[in-house]
Symmetry: C2
Subunit: 249 residues, 2 copies
Amino acid sequence: MQRYKCIISYDGSGFSGYQVQPNKRTVQKELEAVLAKMHKGDSVKVTGSGRTDAGVHAKGQVIHFESPLLIPEEKWEVALNSMLPEDISVLAVIKVDASFHARFDAFGKEYRYVLYLSSIRDPFQRNYACRYPYPLNLGLMKEASKYFLGTHDFTSFCAAKTEVKEKIRTIETIDFIMEDNYLTLRFVGNGFLYNMVRILVGTLLAVGSGDMKPEEIPGILEKRDRRFAGKTAPANGLYLWEVHYEENN
Amino acid sequence: MQRYKCIISYDGSGFSGYQVQPNKRTVQKELEAVLAKMHKGDSVKVTGSGRTDAGVHAKGQVIHFESPLLIPEEKWEVALNSMLPEDISVLAVIKVDASFHARFDAFGKEYRYVLYLSSIRDPFQRNYACRYPYPLNLGLMKEASKYFLGTHDFTSFCAAKTEVKEKIRTIETIDFIMEDNYLTLRFVGNGFLYNMVRILVGTLLAVGSGDMKPEEIPGILEKRDRRFAGKTAPANGLYLWEVHYEENN
């Protein structure tokens, strides 16, 4: 058996998220269906670096699987892309050691959230950016974002139903990239809890619109209670941008 | 009755084209459904500058309709956008003289065709650009495009089933805009026949790939026979970009 790491990209608009669910179209299900075909019906389990929700996109999701097939890396790529639907693309296939694990070995992730700051609807962006038509104070948002940097218990900033117990995470970077009418928020950290990026964005929007003050953030972190943070921003603006591994993987 | 001109944009991916067809989702049908609601069930006829096919997009399609409602222009815009589906957007509503006609008064149009020159599939571009993974000789394409400029009988460059009899059209401009991996072909002319832009693009791709020579174009125009031109390029790369009227409209 050979273990393969794949970097994949998908347009989340047409999927009920990454993970397999009964009677739903998911990314994992499409990948496993194609791998089963290539293995004459034998099921092949695909393991992702983590889930993404319905409507959330990926520019660089990472998965792994094992196969007895002796196919060079580039041919895997061509074969998978020829069988996968148009809204999933395999960007790279890399042979890895049998010990590699897409989830456990990831030591960091980058997410981006794209806001379209405009009072005019753009039909071409409806699935790919979250439109925000009101004024935003970028200076206050940047000030607020600094309180999230470093290591914190992010209980207030994840969905109340999150199953993971350990809610301490480290955020290294929050960047603000303004280009034309688009504001992209770039988050780099060692891991993100369920809905965490979307709640961070919702909270930063509350600060930017004047509903919340930057100085309130430390208090919200301390509460360890989802109800004190901002709203969960919509899925359509969120991209899993990159998953980070040690260099030899 | 007041006549209104509207500039609209739509993502063609989810539509069976612009024009009403039984049991199909079309742009005109969505517009007329919303206008009927605003007029308490009375039907309001919408007239477009021309049709667009299934999958073809519009950045600046123009339509007109008449209404007895006394609503200021900006309120029309807000009302229509609040009721229309997310893949159609009204960019402007302008009061016009009762003699204005979106189709008959249009003296020119601009179409753009977007090619994504890459061997890698991009799931986010699948509906918005036509991927072309083979080498292209841009110099030869530009040379060929010059034969299309000016006034010609474009019978060879429209779908064989085209009903319009008069097939003489004038193309003013064909521009080549290269940006990153995207090649955008910009066509400006006094009018375009059914499938004409897509067949022009297919023919230019045949030249760029070496299957046809630029000097063959005049002969193909003379044949007045669709079979001698190149293939019809896919709908997903095509955008009705702008419709031109006299300044006071």
